[in-house]
C-alpha cells in the first residue's frame, strides 16, 4: 500500500488535473456560452455570474496544468476540491429548485429540456473528483511530479509543519 500510494497519487493528479484542464479549455474560448452556463444556475447576480463565466475556465486551466506538471500540488488540489464542492452545491440547488439546466462543466450549459438533465451523474462525478483532490492534499507525494512533496505521515513531529 505504501509503495502504491505515489502511483495512486499520480493517477489522482492526472485525472483531476486532466479533467480541470479539458473542462477549462473547452470553455475558455466560448465565453458567451460559459457565462450563460453560470447565469443559468440562478444563484449569483448577473454581473458576478458573467465575471465567473469568463474567468473560471482560465483558473481551471491553471490548476489543471499545475496538477499535471506536479507543482504546488497541495494548493491546486485544494482549489480543485473546493471547486467541486461549490459545483455540487450549485447543481444540487438547481436540482432541488426544479431548474432544468446543463451543468455546463465541459462547455455547453444553459437551460435545456427537462428530460435531458443529468444532475445525479454530475454530482457523483464531482464527488469523485473532490475526493481525488482530498487524497492529494493528504498524500501529495506522487510519482513523476516536478516538485517533490513529503506526504504528511501521522508522526507527531510532522503533524504541525506549516503549509508553506
Amino acid at each position: 500500500m505504501k509503495k502504491a500510494q505515489p502511483w495512486i497519487g499520480l493517477l489522482a493528479r492526472l485525472i483531476l488535473g486532466g479533467v480541470l484542464l479539458v473542462a477549462g479549455y473547452l470553455k475558455a474560448f466560448t465565453p458567451d456560452k460559459s457565462m450563460m452556463a453560470v447565469r443559468a444556475y440562478e444563484i449569483l447576480p448577473i454581473w458576478l455570474a458573467n465575471a465567473i463565466g469568463i474567468i473560471l475556465p482560465w483558473l481551471e486551466i491553471g490548476a489543471g496544468l499545475l496538477l499535471i506538471i506536479g507543482v504546488g500540488i497541495r494548493y491546486s488540489a485544494i482549489f480543485g476540491s473546493a471547486l467541486m464542492v461549490l459545483f455540487i452545491i450549485a447543481i444540487a440547488q438547481a436540482w432541488a429548485r426544479g431548474l432544468s439546466i446543463d451543468c455546463g462543466c465541459f462547455g455547453g450549459g444553459g437551460t435545456i429540456d427537462p428530460s435531458q438533465t443529468k444532475y445525479l451523474e454530475e454530482i457523483l462525478r464531482d464527488i469523485g473528483l473532490a475526493l481525488l483532490g482530498l487524497y492529494l492534499l493528504r498524500y501529495p507525494n506522487t510519482k513523476f511530479a516536478l516538485e517533490k512533496n513529503k506526504s504528511r505521515e501521522p508522526k507527531s513531529s510532522e503533524q504541525l509543519t506549516p503549509g508553506e
Partner: protein, 230 residues
C-alpha cells in the same frame, strides 16, 4: 526510491513553472474579459437600436403594441423550429404593424454563428433581414460543420434577392463583427440563458415543462395568445 534523494525541491524550476502558469491564466483571462466588453464605437447595421439591446428592430416607432424580443442563435436547431412554427405569424405582425419585434442574433454556439449574424446584419441594411432569416433556417447546416462560409452566405443572400456588391463585402469583411459581440454582451445583461428565448413585453413566454408540452414556443395558438394577451 525517489523519496530518499537528499535534494529538496528545485525552487527555481518550481517558481518558473508556477510563474508561467500564472502568466497563461492572467493573459487568457484578461484577453477574454477585454474581448467581451461592449464596444460602443462598433459599426451598427441599420434599424439597430442600442436601447433595445443592439437588436434589429421592426416597427420601432409603434407604441401601444406588444413588444416581442427574440433571442436566437443562427446555428440553433430549436431556433429554426421556432421560426418554422411562428415565423409566418411574426412576419404578419410586422407587416400589419401589430407588434414591435426585436431580433437579437446571439453567437454563442461558435464562430459560424458570428458569421451568420454578421451576414444577417448586412442583409438588414438591404431591407432583407426577414427573408434572409427565414431562408437561413430553412437550409440550416449542421452545427459548426464549416458549411457557413462567405460564399454560402452570399449565395443565400442572392437567393433572397440581395445582389449588391456592398452586401458581398459586408459579409466577407465582417463589417458588423463588433456589433455581433455587442449583441452577445447584451444577451448576458438580459440574462438570456438559452436560445430561443422570447420575451413579450419584457416577460419571458412559457417554456415547455415536459416532452409532451409544447409551451408557448412551439404551439402557434399558445404563442399568438401570449403575444396578443387574449
Amino acid at each position: 526510491m525517489s523519496s530518499k534523494t537528499p535534494k529538496g525541491p528545485d525552487n527555481v524550476t518550481r517558481n518558473l513553472v508556477i510563474g508561467m502558469v500564472v502568466l497563461v491564466v492572467a493573459v487568457g483571462a484578461i484577453f477574454s474579459v477585454l474581448s467581451n466588453k461592449e464596444n460602443t464605437s462598433a459599426a451598427l447595421p441599420s434599424s439597430v437600436s442600442q436601447e433595445d439591446g443592439y437588436g434589429i428592430v421592426f416597427n420601432g416607432d409603434l407604441t401601444g403594441v406588444p413588444v416581442i424580443d427574440i433571442w436566437e442563435d443562427f446555428q440553433c436547431p430549436v431556433c429554426a423550429r421556432f421560426e418554422q412554427t411562428n415565423g409566418d405569424y411574426i412576419e404578419k405582425l410586422i407587416e400589419e404593424k401589430k407588434a414591435k419585434v426585436v431580433f437579437h442574433t446571439l453567437s454563442f454556439l461558435g464562430p459560424e454563428s458570428s458569421l451568420a449574424a454578421n451576414a444577417a446584419a448586412c442583409a438588414s441594411d438591404e431591407n432583407k433581414f426577414l427573408g434572409f432569416h427565414r431562408a437561413f433556417y430553412q437550409n440550416l447546416p449542421a452545427e459548426n460543420s464549416g458549411a457557413i462560409t462567405t460564399d454560402y452566405l452570399v449565395a443565400l443572400g442572392k437567393f433572397v434577392g440581395i445582389t449588391s456588391d456592398k452586401f458581398k463585402s459586408c459579409v466577407a469583411n465582417l463589417d458588423y463583427k463588433g456589433w455581433v459581440n455587442n449583441v452577445a454582451a447584451s444577451g448576458g445583461k438580459a440574462n438570456v440563458n438559452s436560445t430561443p428565448t422570447v420575451f413579450v413585453n419584457g416577460k419571458e413566454i412559457r417554456r415547455a415543462t415536459s416532452g409532451a408540452d409544447l409551451g408557448d414556443y412551439f404551439d402557434p395558438a399558445a404563442f399568438a395568445k401570449a403575444v396578443e394577451g387574449k
